[in-house]
Assembly symmetry: C2
């Protein structure tokens, strides 16, 4: 146990040493390394896919379900797509050195608040091995060292990906340890990483609720929580009904396994008669099961569509499936109260043509993103124009909502004087 | 124990309810409440001072030392000064609603990132009862509810201050629970506060290293670390010697009991002969004891001034007293390596006329603030022009360096469409 811990801390120390170099690299050097990483991934696509087949065979033997197998799979085509994404990161501006604020004080002192890298970024994530590359290159571009802890199911794939990236780093004169894997496959290695205070500057868990809860409760290193999304769509009395149907369908069904998909629909009682039959029929036609309150159950019965009764578990659920909880609310404050009670603080949408209702919704709801007459699916770094995304923060400190490269930085105040002392 | 915890959580729930109202208050309402708080403090200055006398008598009976008694003491004059500080907060701009970023996407979606309050801010602090008022009014101005846990030595004073402020809130139509004290005097109440996840949005510990360590290690609520300052002054080969003497003296002696005072002096070996006699004599004349390396010990002997030998404990020390650790370094990289090894990441100063040396120092040092030819004492919200300060963050996430009102906010993305859905 203790020697396991020492092994993790040793790697973290090497990451910290690498971070001291990486923070000072120019954009040109970092972009060169990224280009070499992309090329190395393409050059080794077939070999990487073969390594991945081993992980998949192991997962199949372990009886892992099909959707997880799919997330675990890297074909040569997928690897080339990952390499293309690395090339896109080259085009993004380097946040390091950006002056956030700058001014001159009355006494002549010049104050600049400048973006600097965080240092060592610990990523803790589940099956998808593409995260290994995404996270590593975003950390490198923003001047950080990446210390990666993927799932044991992707063990060999992750090791091979990191090996390929490290060779590319070496060729660009960047320390190999700028991208490293946490050693050890046991759960304990996660514990060692998230308690490596003084060596690791932040841990970012990406995955299911239990992983995130475990990290939040056990970490002594600062954490950025990501990706739990119990998102709501509220259809107001003043909504355009056609628009509302489209937004609900898109929010729920455009992609179901993602954190910005809608999980609950709330409808103002004034439009119960006109809206419920429309949306129940449309959702059923898209294969969505509605878990409804009494009004939805009754409207479903009229339409000949079975609507199971929603329980507290439904209001709390992040289904990640073709299911939605649905209820009628007396008014806008009731919708806000429901959202404050059940939301995970990710994204909530309002469909309304009333400026008053929209403003009340914005003032009352406290989430990372609020969509006004738009699908919840737009809460995404790519959609927001960030070019890349390390995750979507659902916490309030440091970063909230989609996190791009600037969110992987801290800042330093640089104060320049001419011998200034305090009187 | 469990009922103690329930008592703390009950108060936190009331804080959360109040926060939902306070976040929506206009600046006019908040400023009115601040004005009433200032007036109420003035009106009750004599009564508050009498309550404070009780706390002081208890502390004296407990054998508390004189400096702590001083920090604990509220005279009517000090209370009026606190009220004046509240009036200054009225003049500060309200950060809530500020648009941090705003742009329109190619598809017509309008994206705005808008500042919103954090929610419930838990403050955990030591003796000084003025923090009770400072923290409460900064939280209120930034739309947050303040949940305060002061030290038991200031128990009655804090309770009386909160009572006075709550009455002023009620008169302005602001929920009384927007400013609340954590019940219970035991250490356990700190634990309950910092693990009240889902009710409390952030805890900010202000105090000594052991308090801060305890909160960082035990909290499940996100933490902002403040105020541990092992600050360094590096005097480069290319320094102006007179300037260097002034900056070292000011950094060390202008006020010793604060986190931005210098604790270690590092000197480039090329100026050993010219600088060491000057600074040793000057520091000794100001009553400062130098804990030196071999060069300082030798130079001290020559000047007839005793210089105790510095140990690892000295390089690590945050003296908060008229003591300084001092050593000679071979070059700038050695100074940077020393700082990276021993610094708490608060403030480091370089005295140099070499642009190359200054740039290397800035690139190599990773602290909240870097002073170039200026005293470390300038790292301060007031000096930086923030108008008020809730503390100085020495962590990298969320806020780093002096924290003003904007640092007490989070943000929300508000995305406005016209029925936009993702294709």
């Amino acid at each position: 146990m203790n020697s396991d811990r020492e092994e993790v801390l040793d790697v973290a120390r090497r990451s910290q040493d690498a971070a001291a170099t990486v923070r000072q690299l120019t954009r040109a050097v970092k972009d060169d390394a990224l280009g070499r990483i992309a090329q190395a991934l393409r050059d080794n696509a077939d070999q990487l896919a073969r390594v991945n087949e081993g992980d998949i065979a192991r997962a199949v033997a372990d009886g892992v379900d099909a959707s997880l197998i799919d997330r675990l799979t890297l074909t040569p085509m997928r690897i080339r797509a990952i390499a293309d994404a690395v090339v896109e990161v080259i085009e993004l501006p380097d946040p390091v050195g950006d002056v956030v604020r700058g001014y001159t004080l009355a006494n002549g002192l010049q104050v600049r608040q400048v973006r600097v890298p965080l240092g060592v970024v610990g990523m803790i994530y589940e099956a998808r091995p593409n995260v290994t590359v995404d996270a590593a290159v975003l950390c490198l571009k923003s001047g950080n060292a990446a210390l990666l802890r993927g799932s044991s199911s992707a063990r060999d794939t992750n090791a091979a990906l990191v090996e390929v990236m490290q060779s590319a780093l070496a060729a660009s004169g960047v320390p190999r340890d700028a991208i490293a894997l946490v050693p050890g496959e046991t759960h304990a290695s996660v514990d060692h990483l998230m308690t490596a205070r003084g060596l690791v500057d932040v841990v970012i868990p990406r995955g299911g609720e239990s992983l995130i809860r475990r990290v939040v409760e056990g970490a002594t290193v600062p954490v950025i929580e990501t990706g739990i999304g119990n998102c709501h769509v509220y259809v107001d009395a003043a909504a355009d009904i056609d628009m509302a149907v489209n937004i609900v369908l898109n929010s729920k069904t455009q992609r179901v396994s993602v954190c910005n998909a809608a999980e609950t629909l709330l409808v103002h009682q004034d439009i119960l008669a006109s809206f419920l039959p429309r949306i129940i029929t449309a959702l059923a036609a898209s294969g969505v099961t509605i878990h409804g309150d009494a009004d939805f159950v009754a409207a479903g019965a009229k339409a000949g569509i079975e609507v199971p009764v929603a329980t507290a578990a439904d209001w709390a659920a992040e289904y990640y499936s073709l299911d939605i909880a649905a209820g009628v609310v007396a008014d806008l404050p009731a919708a806000i109260a429901h959202i404050r009670r059940w939301s995970s603080g990710h994204t909530e949408a309002i469909v309304s043509d009333s400026a008053t209702a929209i403003n009340e919704f914005i003032a009352g709801v406290d989430s990372a993103a609020i969509m006004v007459n738009a699908s919840t699916r737009f809460t995404d770094g790519g959609e927001f124009g960030f070019g890349a995304e390390i995750g979507i923060s659902t916490q309030k400190l440091h970063a909230r909502g989609p996190m791009g490269l600037p969110e992987l930085t801290s800042s330093t105040y640089i104060v320049s004087g001419a011998g200034h002392t305090r009187p």
